[in-house]
């Protein structure tokens, strides 16, 4: 689990042995998670179970087995859950004929808000996602990025404590993407739970407090990105050494017990070393460097989500 804190169950999103099957097709299997406040990213390729996990925690689908609890609320109580939670789905369809403003305003009226309050909340949410100028236009005429932002406005308009965002950066141009990431950080700083899914790994890498790595319906790793890396002891860590004589250095480091593999970097100016014990290797490298190797830099080559993910699911290797 990401963190053990049974006392704070009402402040966490908890999955207990949750499985979901669509007929014979596996959605997710035996998921156990306890997600604290902050930004948590669900990372995995298409079909890994990210959206299923989000749909489960928002009650859009029901678990075949297990229990889910969102800040003390069961997802099958939408009348309570959605006062606390906002969900920006991947569904790219909208009720017919609505403008951006109507889309949010009508949604807020479903909460029971009176006209004036709904209007104010609508305008604030639309302003927050930078769509004020387009609010009077029909959603059907919006670009992909604008539709993404109006969905984000829908998710945040009622000031929820939990935000579930399914691929929220999809279709956003770089400027809007940066603004949206800043908005996520601001919301997390306000103490919200943000659950973000993505398969564009470098995006979530920089904004996440925690990551949950999924593959084929299973949680393969979870925790802070560095902790996740430490969890994977059976997988060697890759280190990139920039130096003047990488071929000689390769021959030298390969004598060390802790080194699993050493090979030249594709650009010819460095050495990629795989080791099962990074601390021992760094000590050994200090010693080796004194033998006349001109070592310019030493850095982990795979301490990001992409590399960890590739290690875990065995789809490739990082060569940063």
């Amino acid at each position: 689990m990401i963190a053990q804190d049974p006392q704070g169950a009402d402040r966490r999103i908890v999955f207990e042995d949750v499985s979901k099957f669509y007929g014979d097709v596996l959605g997710v299997n035996r998921v156990n998670l306890s997600i604290p406040p902050g930004i948590t990213s669900l990372v995995g390729p298409n079909g890994s179970g990210k959206t299923t996990l989000m749909n489960l925690m928002t009650g859009l689908v029901r678990p075949t087995r297990g229990r889910i609890n969102v800040l003390g609320i069961r997802p099958d109580e939408p009348e309570r859950l959605f006062r606390t939670l906002g969900y920006c789905t991947q569904f790219d369809s909208f009720p017919r004929g609505l403008t951006g403003h109507d889309f949010i305003y009508s949604y807020l009226r479903l909460f029971g808000y009176q006209h004036e309050q709904a209007r104010q909340l609508t305008e604030r949410a639309i302003e927050r996602v930078g769509l004020s100028e387009a609010a009077g236009r029909k959603v059907a005429a919006y670009s992909k990025g604008m539709r993404q932002r109006i969905k984000l406005a829908q998710a945040i308009c009622h000031n929820p404590s939990v935000l579930v965002l399914d691929e929220p950066l999809n279709g956003l141009d770089p400027l809007i993407r940066a603004e949206t990431i800043a908005l996520f950080r601001a919301l997390a700083a306000e103490g919200l739970h943000l659950i973000i899914s993505s398969h564009v790994l470098h995006e979530v890498d920089v904004i996440s407090d925690q990551v949950v790595l999924l593959n084929s319906g299973y949680v393969v790793a979870e925790g802070q990105i560095h902790s996740v890396r430490d969890e994977i002891e059976e997988h060697p860590m890759q280190i990139l050494i920039r130096c003047s004589r990488p071929a000689d250095l390769a021959a030298r480091v390969f004598r060390e017990d802790c080194v699993v593999e050493a090979r030249l970097h594709p650009d010819g100016n460095g050495l990629l070393v795989k080791t099962r014990d990074a601390d021992r290797f760094y000590l050994a490298l200090n010693r080796i460097a004194q033998d006349g190797f001109n070592v310019e830099s030493v850095a982990p080559a795979d301490d990001d989500v992409l590399s960890v993910y590739e290690y875990l699911v065995g789809t490739g290797e990082s060569t940063k």
């Binding site: 669509y22 749909n55 928002t58 009650g59 859009l60 689908v61 029901r62 939408p78 009348e79 309570r80 859950l81 959605f82 006062r83 906002g86 969900y87 789905t89 569904f91 369809s93 909208f94 009720p95 017919r96 004929g97 009508s106 949604y107 009226r109 479903l110 909460f111 029971g112 009176q114 829908q154």
Partner: protein, 287 residues
């Protein structure tokens, strides 16, 4: 006061919000134009009939026209226009949203699913009554407007005119309630709700020949019992009309039993729909 302390007022506000969204979609949808054609076809027929009578200088017979109205009301308006109109309106309340992949808009709101069912049903009912209620009033006046003013006034204010109009309006309302609840349930329960709609159509057509207990779960059985003027079935049969069996109503229910029967049927259909919608998952991928 919080929502949980006064749920009825919250539910009323939420129902109103649902109706605002749904009415616009139902009444102004281009794909629903055929419902208007069906609903207002009798108005057109009566206007043409009245115009023909005026042009040829014929004197109308209110008694005869009343039977014509009863025949068109029962054989066309109830069985076809209202029936298929309700298929078009109520089946799409949920099924249409699943096909358009927009049902999650409601499912993401803090809304009891039963309130959603009630709100959508009321929206459908209001839309259906705006269309069919307007039609029945226009039909009535279209049929009788060519009579002499004195004859008309006598019929409306001293005869059965207004009572009949109220009765037809009430039967139309009950038809929309009964068929609406059945077709809303069909839209929730079936992936292809046109199949149950056809089954209901056949059952309604042969309801006069069904065993008594089966007649009591048929909407048309109660509606025919409430119509103020019977269709002259004997005339149809004498003429060997193959549709004569549609006019058969051998053992009509009393008015209170008929109203109660439709209300119970509708409450059962809506309650079951509420349970199913409460458990409904969003899984557009399988559609």
């Amino acid at each position: 006061m919080s929502a949980s302390e006064r749920p009825w007022s919250l539910w009323a506000a939420q129902t109103a919000a649902i109706m605002r969204l749904e009415l616009k979609k139902t009444l102004l949808a281009r794909r629903g134009l055929w419902i208007y054609f069906l609903a207002f076809a009798p108005v057109f027929i009566f206007v043409v009939h009245a115009y023909h009578q005026l042009r040829t200088g014929q004197v109308g017979d209110i008694g005869n026209d009343t039977h014509i109205f009863a025949g068109i009301f029962q054989l066309f308006f109830l069985r076809l226009a209202v029936f298929f109109g309700c298929v078009g309106i109520f089946i799409n309340l949920f099924r249409g949203e699943v096909l358009e992949k927009s049902l999650h808009y409601y499912f993401l709101a803090p809304l009891r699913r039963q309130v959603l069912v009630a709100g959508k049903f009321l929206s459908g009912l209001v839309a259906a009554m705006v269309i069919f209620g307007t039609s029945i009033v226009l039909q009535f006046f279209a049929l009788y407007w060519y009579f002499e003013p004195a004859t008309r006034q006598e019929y409306f204010y001293h005869g059965h005119g207004l009572a009949h109009l109220a009765a037809y309006f009430g039967v139309t309302l009950l038809a929309c309630v009964g068929y609406g609840s059945v077709f809303l349930a069909a839209g929730v329960l079936f992936r292809n709700p046109l199949i149950p709609a056809v089954v209901v159509l056949v059952l309604e057509a042969i309801s006069g020949f069904l065993p008594s207990f089966l007649q009591h779960i048929s909407v048309i059985f109660y509606l025919k019992s409430l119509c103020p003027v019977s269709v002259p079935a004997a005339i149809f049969m004498d003429q060997g009309n193959p549709l004569a069996f549609l006019a058969v109503n051998p053992a009509p229910a009393s008015a209170p039993a008929a109203v109660l029967g439709i209300v119970i049927l509708s409450v059962v259909a809506l309650a079951y729909s509420g349970v199913r919608v409460r458990r409904m998952e969003i899984d557009y991928g399988t559609e």
